[in-house]
Amino acid sequence: MLRQFKPAIYIFIVLTLGAGVIYPAIGYVIGQTIFKNQANGSIAYMNKTPVGSYLLGQSFSGNIWFQPRPSAVGYEGNASGASNLALTNPKLIQNIEQLANDYRRQNGLPKTTSVPADAVTASGSGLDADISVANAELQAPRVAKARSISLARVQSMIDRATSTSPSFIFGTKVVNVVTLNLELKEMKLQ
């Protein structure tokens, strides 16, 4: 048994150099030369100032913004995670009902309006940048009114922020809230 420790230590060092230093270094060089934008977090810029990542949701409050999905970590970038509430947990059902009522109130919708499920459930990463198309369209009149712009204009922004790529396989059509709200903000500057 003891005889095995010498090769164990040496081979451990060699493999650590290979898998822990050389391998990530190659990945780093490829990332920073060929895929610089992606490797650095797909950063969104406004006037050359970084304002977030297209992949990470942010929190937006107020009627002038499209609201992202509920988050268990409050869109803190250096945390991530889900609520882990089970479908059998009464607290989850309570939360959903509360969020549905809030959603209807904020968007001026009648009590009978059906609310898209993504608007009332916390995402898995806590950083979901996407909302459903139905969710965006229900929020559009409120945003248009708060910004005094036409609904058609907001609708065209939603169309531009809707990605078609996830339907490639296994996916659904989604609207990226960061893209959408960034366009709203840029419009204000013009």
Partner: protein
Amino acid sequence: MNVFGGWGFLALIALLVVTAPFLGRYIARVFSDEALAKDTRLNRIEGRMLKTIGVDPKVEQSWKAYAASVVAFSAVSVVFLYATERLQGHLPLNPTHVGAVSPALAINTAVSFVTNTNWQNYAGESTMTMLTQTIGLSVQNFVSGAVGLSVAIALVRGLLRNRSNTIGNFWVDLVRSTTRILLPLSLIFAIILIAQGAVENLTYVKCITTIADGKQCIPGGLVATQEAIKELGTNGGGYFNANSIHPFENPTALTNFAEIYALLVIPFSLPFAFGRLTKRTRDGITIFTTMMVIWIASSLLLLHFEVGTNQLNLVKSSNISSVATAKVLPEGQDLRISATSCAVFASSTTSTSTGAVNCALDSIEPAAGGVALFNMMLGEVSPGGVGSGLYGILIFAILSVFIAGLMVGRTPEYLGKKIQSAEMKLVVIYLLLSPAAIMIFAAIAVILKTAKGAVGNPGSQGLSEIIYSYVSTGNNNGSALGGLAANTDFYNVTQALNMAIGRFGLMIPVLAIAGALAKKQTVPASSGTFNTDKPLFAVILGGTIILLVGLTYFPVLSLGPIMSHLQSAL
């Protein structure tokens, strides 16, 4: 078909069936005796390197020496990883000034990554430095998979050798698994991930002013390279707390599909490598088919429960509409990752020993979570972890020929090796040791008030969380029902013990079986030999696996997920 998002699932099956035989052939070529003897440049470099540290690659080891090498290497790994976690506060690549990991958590994490479990009682972004992630955890992702693969190859050699005292050289197998299989595949996969948006930088954390003038700190690190081996090595330990739900680990629908494929491809290719090495292609195909059928069945079952039920019914008083075609509440799910892929990912991650998740398993339909639990209870053989899946199913194959032999009253044999009392004793240890440990630890946790208090959901779902945590650690899976707040001394220590028993308590009997089989003479097949390359054997093998697990675990399954399912009225 719409409800099941059938195209993605069918494409995945097709891709695996087409590519696994090629990868299997390549893996067989890496480990065959002819390849080891060949005088290629790569072999010369490898040989010279091994010789300088006192290992002669041409000298094979007995099963005892092989096992001692496995244990010594794993011990060195645990010590190094533990030390790195404890000292990380004083080491470089720590821009956010993270302190030392607490002793109990550090030992849990060290054992977890060395045993290919990757159970995580911590959040990566706030607990580990970039150094610990990269030269500590990520390296174990490679070598723990390589150790599993080596042991599987040693068992295949045991079946193959005739009156031999040796089963190969662990150091050669370990180095070859890492450098010729895992590293090249990971590099290719890492590049795909980076191109799609997985991050690979040294910025670590970059704080910015958001669009609505708030603050957000964007995390970074060498994520893509770690993510690649996390799936390919069936490890599953996420760089970030949210694992493969995190947009920087799994940014698009394409990476989501690729990650499911990556965590399945090596385990599914190993039966082909086995068929090639033993020159019994049809035996390999029989094992592959058994694995494939169980995996497809469990995926369909998970899809049925998660996507096929109307979860919106749960919120009767509020009017909630579905997001896509399926009536799923996407609690714990990100929208770019569909509920369909969540189900297929969950069945794949628990059928292998990966344990990565692309949706929060505590929030999926309880019976769907029960299927995930059942997959792990099978001992992860459909297709199982890198290496551990193959040796696991070969142990079940030996048990199956034994049972079949008893039924007709003949001495059972597998691949020309007589299966006798010595091997069967070891097989029984392999099959019972881990379930016994799992049930004992879970029973203690349920009795202890503080341990019981760690559950995050009331009722039978809480029991499921505890059971799941020990089944997951005992089978070296690492997925979790995340509501359980398990970062306590009790869970850290009992889980670490459970992981070590589930890994080495099984590997050592496997190597002993390999040694015992290698010593035997290979007998030619006679008219009374039970054919192990026919569909009938696949049926007996599959039946043995499912019945054995059903009998062991059914009571606890009915108290946990089955009860939750009935309560939820879905």
